[in-house]
Amino acid sequence: MSFIQALFLLGAAGVAGPIAAHLLARPRYRRVPFTMLQFLRTGETETQSRRRLKNLLVLLLRCAIIILLALFFAGPERLLVKLDAAVSPHAFVAIDDSLSMAYGDGMARAVADAREAIRSAPADAQFDVFALASGAETRGVDRPQADAFVAALKPVPLKASVSSFFSALGAAPSGAKITAHIVSDFTPEARAAFDSIAKPAAVDHYTYTRVGPETTPANVAITAARVMPGANGNLAVSVGLANYGPAAATVTITGKIGEAPARDTSAQLGGAEKRSVQLQLPAPQGAGPYLPVEISISPEDGMPQDNHYLIGLAGSEVTAKHVVIFAADEREAFLVKTALDTLAQSNPLNVINVQALVHSRFDSNVVRNASVVIFASAPNRSVVGVDDLASFVQGGGRLIAFANKDLKPAFYESLAKAGVFPAVPGAAANATLQLEGEFGSITMGDPLSPDAAAIRALRNYGLERLPIQGAYALRTVDGGTALWRFNTGDAFVCYKASGRGSAILINTSADDALSPLMKSAAAVAFINYLIGGGAQVQQYAFDAGESVRLPASAFELAHAQPDQAFFVETPGGKQTSAQWVNQTIAIPPVNELGWVRTTATPVRYAGVNVPEGETDLTAPSSAPLDMMVQRLFATRDSVVDEGPEKGTQQRKPLWPGIGWAALALIIVDVFVSNRVTR
């Protein structure tokens, strides 16, 4: 018998309702002193037993109705098949070789059980054996071959997949006698794989064996890790931990970036608890743009494979930008400084040191040591050293100035005259202005070309919708370029490259639009756009069984050809070829845990880790497991003299009869219920 919608069988659990009502709705007796109990006793005994019988009958009726209705909606049907004697029986064996089977002697027991199933199959049977995690399979083989295939299986750090097994079962010759046998530890991950099977497979007989620990063992795993910006130039690694065991556990988490010293911290997890722990690791200076990050937990337990997690970092080198802000007062500097602080936290390898000073504290030494100098407003010409600023830009610095309400033309004119500033503010125009043009069309010239990401980010904020009341008419000087304009044609951002550095003048207008601009959601992206943000750091951590990608170096990005082959080293130490796919180096799925790295320098890393949940060894309950496996198969009834043609299957629906029976019981229930009076 099989079911069209076996899920409805769960409705049979509704019998708990009448049973609970029967047990809970027991009458509360009022105590009454009385005298003539001898006249009550006989009648009461008779009535009581009759009432109990009736109540029990009603309870049974209602339970039967619920079960029948669940059966009715599940759509039971009988599969009839006439076997073809000319077709040899087929034995399908599925053996779970996922990583969880490596716990204890699970894999050995699974192999022994599968071999026993193969041995007990009919002598003329053909075997189709499937390794569920590795995907290895052998089809239509005889007993010795099947036995040898099973004996060679080892656990792999992959999740079990059952689709091939059930596809093969569905394609089996229907005239053959079909048996199926599954060996698995039925961990939650494995059960999820089996649960994904929607249509039951028609078989004549099926069996299953659960191996693995009888009770859920103690096991703590690293399920994920991600590098985030930390404090004081550190990198913070958020480590996801899962205690799959039932008891509380204390673990020590150790992290290490490249050759830098390891750091550790400890965490306590309750039974079956999942949470993340942050680990601060020092960011190594000058170690190159590609860094391996290794996270591990101790002590080791029954599943050491899930106690390690590897991440390959790729991005800009750890750089330190020293930004000096000159402002009229602290309030004016505060907004720019806040945007810079936020920016510093968004990129783990982009260290930005910010120093805010009032105009009067202009110091040439401070400027000389800075990489970016920002004037939140124009200072008096007398307090700044124009030559110092010109030398700063010529030497590779970035000078940024906001032209705001408190315009001091002498400052701009002197710096323009020194060949630093790209433009000079003119008359103020009081009108509501908006930025014009799409950000995609905006370029900032070669010095800022790595800032494409910053431009893309800025585009998302719709800065062009920010209304600005009034603006200066910026008059560009030689070499100055208006990168972004208002709808009136006046320039909003002017740029000029000078020597190895550059200067940017932002027209935040006569109405002091710096504040609304810096308070907007786009402030951080805008500042990143202005100071020239670093490239995004990318993290390369993959689950076993996934395709692995590695970052391309700058040389490869410039010179690699579409059909070019690369060589990488896989966790087993073997070299394998990789392909150039979407500006990255890609290799087919890796079934081993450890580092995948490029053989070419600079060495780039990608970590291959245990898939999350694969080592969750939570033991299943037997009844739900029985039900789950039962749902996977539709047992056929072999007929000899009647029924379908030889070798064909016929489905005989059983639900109409069950529906009528349920209806009849409902009518009987109404009748009996009316007779039962208390």
Partner: protein, 298 residues
């Protein structure tokens, strides 16, 4: 004094008025009273003639009859007498059941006993009170003085209910110890604990007592007028029984009616007056109804 008059209901006594409880059977008495005596004597009311026998007193010869018929006849007269009245009051635990009535069965019996005592003493009869449960606990001897009422009312107020009903044993014991024939008034719920009630009553009747049974039951005992789930607890045995009264009411009522009918029939056969008293009804109405019935039967 208030305690002693507690069970003497003035309202009831005023309703009793001139009604008289008269023994239906001829009883032997010491003093003249309202009850007919088997001894033909010297009262004013002529009864019958009989032939003169040697030894008869000559003063009762009817000389006028002799003149007319020349035969000797003796005149006979009805003789009135007072009788002993024994009030047997059941004070077992089962008599403490009250139900929704104003009084429990024992109080009901007390009021009834008080009223009967007052009535009997006013008729010139002598009254004895016997209180019992498993055995006789209190016995107030026969007296005919009016002041005896006080003694009986005091005894009634001092009754402590308790024990189980052994009615048959008590009746046999009483029958053997009651030296004078008289009216035996039994006030009980008749829930004898396994005894043979009819044999006890028959014993009294055999000794030629005039027996009246006041069967006091609470209304709920007759009708089982309860609802919902009830755990009944026996007042005497402490036995518990859980049931839904609605489901057993019909059976119960039939059994109780059968019980009452059996007692009434056996009483009728033995010449015993039986009166079922429902404690939910006022005592005066039940009592007066009985007296009226009794007078009609005379």
């Amino acid at each position: 004094m208030a305690g002693t008059t507690k069970y003497l209901d003035p309202k009831l006594l005023s309703k009793l008025g001139n009604m008289e409880l008269i023994a239906r059977c001829a009883l032997q008495g010491f003093f003249s009273g309202l009850h007919p005596s088997p001894f033909h004597g010297f009262s004013a009311e002529f009864s019958d003639h009989r032939q003169y026998l040697p030894g008869d007193e000559l003063r009762f010869l009817d000389w006028k009859m002799y003149g007319r018929s020349n035969k000797l006849y003796i005149k006979q007269f009805l003789q009135d007498t007072n009788v002993p009245v024994y009030i047997l009051l059941d004070a077992s635990n089962s008599m403490t059941y009250r139900g929704d009535s104003t009084y429990d069965k024992l109080d009901y019996g007390r009021y009834l006993s008080g009223a009967l005592t007052s009535l009997m003493l006013s008729q010139g009869d002598s009254v004895s009170l016997v209180v019992f449960s498993e055995r006789v606990t209190t016995r107030i001897p026969l007296r005919g003085r009016r002041t005896h009422l006080h003694a009986i009312l005091t005894a009634l107020s001092r009754i402590e209910p308790g024990g189980r009903t052994r009615l048959a044993d008590v009746l046999h014991t009483f029958a053997e110890t009651a030296t004078r024939r008289g009216i035996v008034i039994l006030i009980s719920d008749l829930l004898d604990d396994g005894g043979d009630l009819s044999s006890g009553l028959a014993h009294l009747k055999y000794l030629r007592h005039d027996v009246i049974v006041f069967h006091t039951l609470a209304h709920e005992e007759i009708t089982l007028d309860f609802r919902g789930a009830v755990q009944f607890e026996d007042l005497e045995t402490r036995e518990r029984l859980r049931t839904f009264p609605e489901s057993v009411r019909e059976t119960y009522q039939a059994k109780v009616q059968d019980f009452i009918d059996t007692i009434e029939k056996s009483s009728g056969r033995s010449g015993i007056d039986y009166c079922l008293l429902d404690t939910s009804q006022s005592l005066d109405r039940a009592f007066l109804a009985y007296l009226a019935k009794r007078r009609r039967l005379m």
